[in-house]
């Protein structure tokens, strides 16, 4: 069971049967004065996963990433990145980590290529003679070769974002961290980022991508961590998270009243759904439901497990948490079924 939800105390190791973790935080907390930016963040990034970090603006995604990369020292808690404690082990961990954090940062008076050359000069994994080749390859990969010699000042938002991505991909990495990589990109650019993430995943690279765009995460990620108000409210494999919550079966039938009648006689709760009925699977399994329907001569077009959908899940998690935090601050937790418990 690799799905853990905040509030469920999972012993260490039990949550990660899939293998070693590329990054891990425990009890992470960061305060700025009296403002609590991040609190009690226990994040697991399995090796080789594409983990999507979801959360509304201001939920602590970037702060968590900055602590993960050693840019910010946590107020409390521990961070391990590729096995090294951060920020002390930054010199060991970061050469194998490519990162695009808080938007691309480059000098406006230099061209895209010159900016990358300056960045590459500091790359420990590049020998001096390899720098030019690595920069050209990275530019090619993000589709910026044609604009490489133009000044960064004149770049569009999307081109700036691509250059930032090129910086993260200068050297073959073990892990790539992308903070809102599709900001400012057109649909074609967004697709290219997805392709690049897929390529990295195929090459065994661990990818951590933060976003507030749900569709983007659903399309590219194997794992998801949902942050809200500075805490992780849910994390785990995408598929498992989507099926969490109350399991139900969507049955498409022309005769909904007969179907509901047949189920009621078997004491299986159901209710009307857009194209048929939604059957609660807590009381019965899917085969039992179908058998009951067929025996009652109810015509069934199709039956499928209801996937909650990331949007539902996200709304449920963050909404509950918002109500909760209004009452008693950050201490509230959300259980798998989305019900708030103090």
């Amino acid at each position: 069971m690799s799905t853990t939800l905040a509030g469920v105390d999972v012993p260490e190791g039990a949550s990660t049967p899939a293998g070693p973790l590329a990054a891990r935080t425990r009890g992470l907390r960061k305060t700025y004065g009296r403002t609590v930016a991040v609190d009690q963040v226990d994040l697991d990034v399995p090796e080789g996963a594409v983990l999507g970090m979801l959360g509304p603006n201001g939920s602590g995604k970037t702060t968590t990433i900055r602590m993960l990369l050693g840019l910010v020292r946590p107020t409390a808690g521990e961070v391990r990145l590729l096995g090294h404690p951060m920020p002390e082990g930054a010199g060991h961990a970061l050469p194998d980590v490519g990162a695009l954090v808080e938007g691309p940062g480059f000098h406006p008076f230099l061209s895209g290529r010159e900016n990358l050359l300056r960045m590459a000069a500091a790359e420990p994994r590049l020998t001096t003679s390899d720098i030019r080749g690595a920069v050209d390859a990275a530019l090619e990969r993000v589709g910026l070769s044609a604009a490489a010699n133009r000044r960064y000042r004149g770049y569009s938002l999307g081109m700036k974002q691509r250059l930032g991505l090129a910086g993260a991909l200068l050297v073959p990495r073990r892990m790539v961290v992308l903070d809102e990589p599709t900001n400012g990109l057109d649909p074609a650019g967004t697709r290219e980022i997805r392709t690049i993430i897929a390529e990295l995943h195929a090459a065994g690279v661990t990818v951590l991508v933060s976003s507030h765009l749900l569709a983007e995460v659903e399309a590219t990620c194997t794992h998801v961590a949902v942050l809200h108000a500075g805490t992780v409210v849910a994390q785990g494999e995408l598929a498992e998270l989507l099926e969490s919550g109350s399991p139900s079966l969507l049955v498409s039938t022309p005769d909904t009243s007969a179907a509901m009648e047949a189920l009621r006689s078997k004491r299986i709760p159901s209710r009307l759904a857009p194209e048929g009925i939604r059957v609660d699977l807590t009381a019965a399994t899917a085969p039992e439901v179908l058998a009951a329907l067929v025996r009652a001569d109810v015509p069934v077009h199709e039956a499928r497990r209801a996937r909650t959908g990331l949007e539902d899940l996200f709304a449920r998690l963050t909404q509950q948490e918002a109500d909760e935090s209004r009452m008693d601050g950050l201490s509230g937790v959300v259980e798998a079924d989305g019900e708030a418990t103090p």
């Binding site: 900055r66 990369l69 990162a99 008076f109 010159e114 420990p124």
Partner: protein, 291 residues
């Protein structure tokens, strides 16, 4: 814990330092702003030389109200003297223009890079924060040296062109050979560069506390002016040994023969103290601040 100590013992991979320094220099001297400032400073001795020739003060030896040595009285001697012009120009610029250039370099080095988000880029590659300060201090020092050398060179050339090679007189009345004169100008330039390194170090320290480069430049400028004002108040003479620019007027001493070293040495030591303190503050801040 054991793993932590083990990883600490094993050396982390690092980019060669010379590569970082070269990248920093390329960045600094590609920046249009740096080149404009250096160009203007280099023009200053030329402008001063031409102005002095046009004013054509044939012989004002009597000594006006500003008899005691200083930038302005040096300028009086610079007319008709090829040796004095470069040193006088350096002394004049040291009052405000050169500190401004050093402050600009220091401001861009950390605050400017933070504002662009580029400092984060180097921290992530990673460059350790200690090395980052080393590279940045080197860059600021390089700008100071470039400014001083440019001024000294154009000063010497302008002086020779306007006054001819036979006018290399010291303030003590002796005449110097060309190499000896160049030596004196080099001494003045070196001393001025040292003072500018101190200014640059202070700018770098302020630079680590803000992400607004303008704030750094304004602070250094205000500090320089404030120090000049405080230095002019006799009632505060107990404070004067602590003011960096207290001995900046002594630059004219290099033009004497032999050179009185007292005040120049004191100024050099004071600059070294400023550098040590300012870089310590910059290090303490840079290694603890959020990137």
């Amino acid at each position: 814990m054991t793993q932590a100590t083990m990883t600490a013992r094993e050396r982390a991979p690092r980019a060669p330092l010379t590569r970082l320094l070269r990248a920093e220099l390329r960045w600094i001297f590609r920046r249009p702003r740096t080149l404009v400032v250096l160009g203007m400073l280099a023009l200053l001795p030329v402008v001063v030389g031409i102005a002095l020739t046009l004013v054509d003060s044939p012989g004002p030896p009597g000594g006006g109200p500003n008899g005691a040595g200083g930038g302005e009285s040096l300028l009086v001697s610079a007319g008709g003297n090829a040796l004095v012009l470069p040193v006088a120009a350096l002394g004049m610029a040291l009052a405000l223009l050169l500190p401004l250039a050093a402050a600009m370099a220091g401001a861009d080095a950390v605050a400017g890079e933070t504002a662009h988000g580029t400092l984060r880029g180097w921290l992530l590659t990673p460059v350790s924060r200690g090395r980052l300060l080393l590279v940045k201090a080197f860059g600021v020092a390089a700008v100071a040296v470039a400014a001083v050398v440019a001024m000294a060179l154009t000063g010497i050339v302008t002086g020779l062109v306007i006054n001819g090679g036979g006018t290399l007189f010291t303030l003590s009345g002796t005449t110097l050979s060309f190499p000896a004169a160049v030596g004196k100008v080099a001494l003045a330039a070196g001393w001025v560069a040292l003072q500018l390194w101190a200014v640059g170090a202070v700018a770098l320290a302020i630079s680590t506390w803000t992400e607004h480069p303008m704030l750094v430049v304004v602070s250094v400028l205000a500090g320089t002016i404030l120090f000049s004002v405080l230095g002019a108040l006799d009632a505060l003479d107990w404070l004067h040994p602590f003011l960096l620019n207290d001995s900046w007027q002594a630059i004219g001493d290099v033009l004497r023969d032999p050179v009185p070293t007292g005040e120049l040495t004191e100024g050099a030591l004071r600059a070294l103290c400023y550098i040590a303190i300012a870089l310590s503050i910059a290090y303490a801040r840079l290694t603890t601040k959020d990137g």
